[in-house]
Symmetry: C2
Subunit: 250 residues, 2 copies
């Protein structure tokens, strides 16, 4: 019998489920398809310097002031819409190069921000969405302990985030087949893979999720098209000391 590397994979379906002690030493992959991680990927791809996730709008404002307001933008949403007085909301479509290139973005969102902070004790904290599935797979393929932290929606399961985790795990399983690496999946990870077998990730599916339907309701359906743009980028943002950046573009 051949014993190769055992890769342990765990999935949390909402930020509220995460026990911070259990991510220590692991590589955490934070997922908020609709929309925080999609927006972060889009913003960094458009040349933003860094994204600073903060829980409350007060903390966000305070940090923006201390960073200096001239090259800092305040971004975030409550109930899907831009926080009053903030520069930008949480719509990836807003984060165009001419607005965000070279800027620091302080960001406060309902679920995504919490997911990043719940994961911050991990050895590495990466950001994933449908927009960078393959790049994330390539980045984590050698890691021995992976924890997917789905943002979820108000402490509950989100189909979009769980499906995204399942698609990455499925890609890892494809890679594994060729090597001597075995995957040890927990209940939630196995269920995420089942979702990847059953559901096609596209804008139509996103519209049917709780998070997607809520966006449609506030007139932001166009965001879903971008959030569903599979492998739009080959970038993996990484958080270090509460600052999310592209590691290769210092």
């Amino acid at each position: 019998m051949h014993h190769g590397l055992l890769l342990k994979v765990e999935t949390y379906f909402s930020a509220g489920e995460v026990d911070p002690a259990r991510v220590v030493g692991a590589t955490a992959v934070v997922i908020d398809v609709i929309r925080a991680t999609s927006t972060i990927i889009e913003a960094l791809a458009a040349g933003a310097q860094a994204v600073y996730p903060r829980l409350s709008s007060d903390e966000a404002i305070e940090l923006a002031n201390s960073l200096g307001r001239e090259d800092t933008l305040l971004c975030g949403e409550r109930r899907g819409l831009r926080i009053e007085g903030f520069d930008l909301g949480n719509s990836p479509l807003e984060f165009e190069r001419e607005r965000v290139a070279g800027k620091r973005l302080v960001m406060s969102t309902t679920n995504g921000t919490r997911a990043f902070l719940a994961a911050e004790d991990a050895e590495r904290v990466l950001a994933a969405s449908l927009m960078n599935l393959s790049a994330v797979r390539d980045e984590v393929v050698g890691h021995e302990h992976l924890v997917f932290v789905c943002a979820g929606k108000e402490d509950r399961f989100s189909l979009d985030d769980a499906l995204c985790a399942g698609l990455i795990i499925q890609k890892l399983m494809g890679t594994m087949g060729r090597g001597s690496v075995e995957l040890d999946l927990d209940d939630a990870s196995r269920s995420a893979v089942a979702l990847a077998k059953v559901y096609e990730p596209n804008a139509n599916l996103l519209r049917q999720t709780a998070a997607g339907a809520a966006l449609v309701e506030v007139g932001l359906a166009a965001d879903l098209q971008l959030c569903a743009d599979i492998d739009r980028y080959r970038l993996v943002p990484e958080m270090q000391e509460r600052m999310i950046r592209l590691p290769d573009e210092e």
Copy 2:
């Protein structure tokens, strides 16, 4: 276009997720495949009078004393094993007719008990496991708002419980196709259905779940065979005032 009855279906993947206010007016279906609801079904089928779920072992002991110890049994587990000083653990195999017929069972388990109490504000609270899938489907088919409360495992997702919910929803969808009833599934319910499409409910699958593997580890693998006995009974236990009984066998 034909508009029939819309049946709203929600699923909570762990007891900790439940917002008690959101189950008010609904029919709650509590699921703890490994093992509380399987054990409760087995116990009531074996002639037990009623099961009284209680959170702590102290509460359980106090209630057993006030009910009168001669026809009351104390049942429950911590880490899978019988609570010290209790009459029975939480293994369905222990609940044989000669031990439990006519008895009141006061029960304290790690996850299942919490799920029942999280659901207690619902209009009706039913108990489901793989052992009574079809009976539960028949019982809830006309109800307008169903909430599946999966016990989960220490506030996390359990594959066995989610799969059980998915199997019941799938059976409902089969029924629906012939009538004028439409199902409105939330993200978690749709994901549960995906599980039902991908996974076969059997003892082998149960052994691979976190809850099942923990049982195997403490020498209780035999329980899983019984927990996986699909439609073993046509009974639906129901909780009223923190007392779970078979409504038709007063």
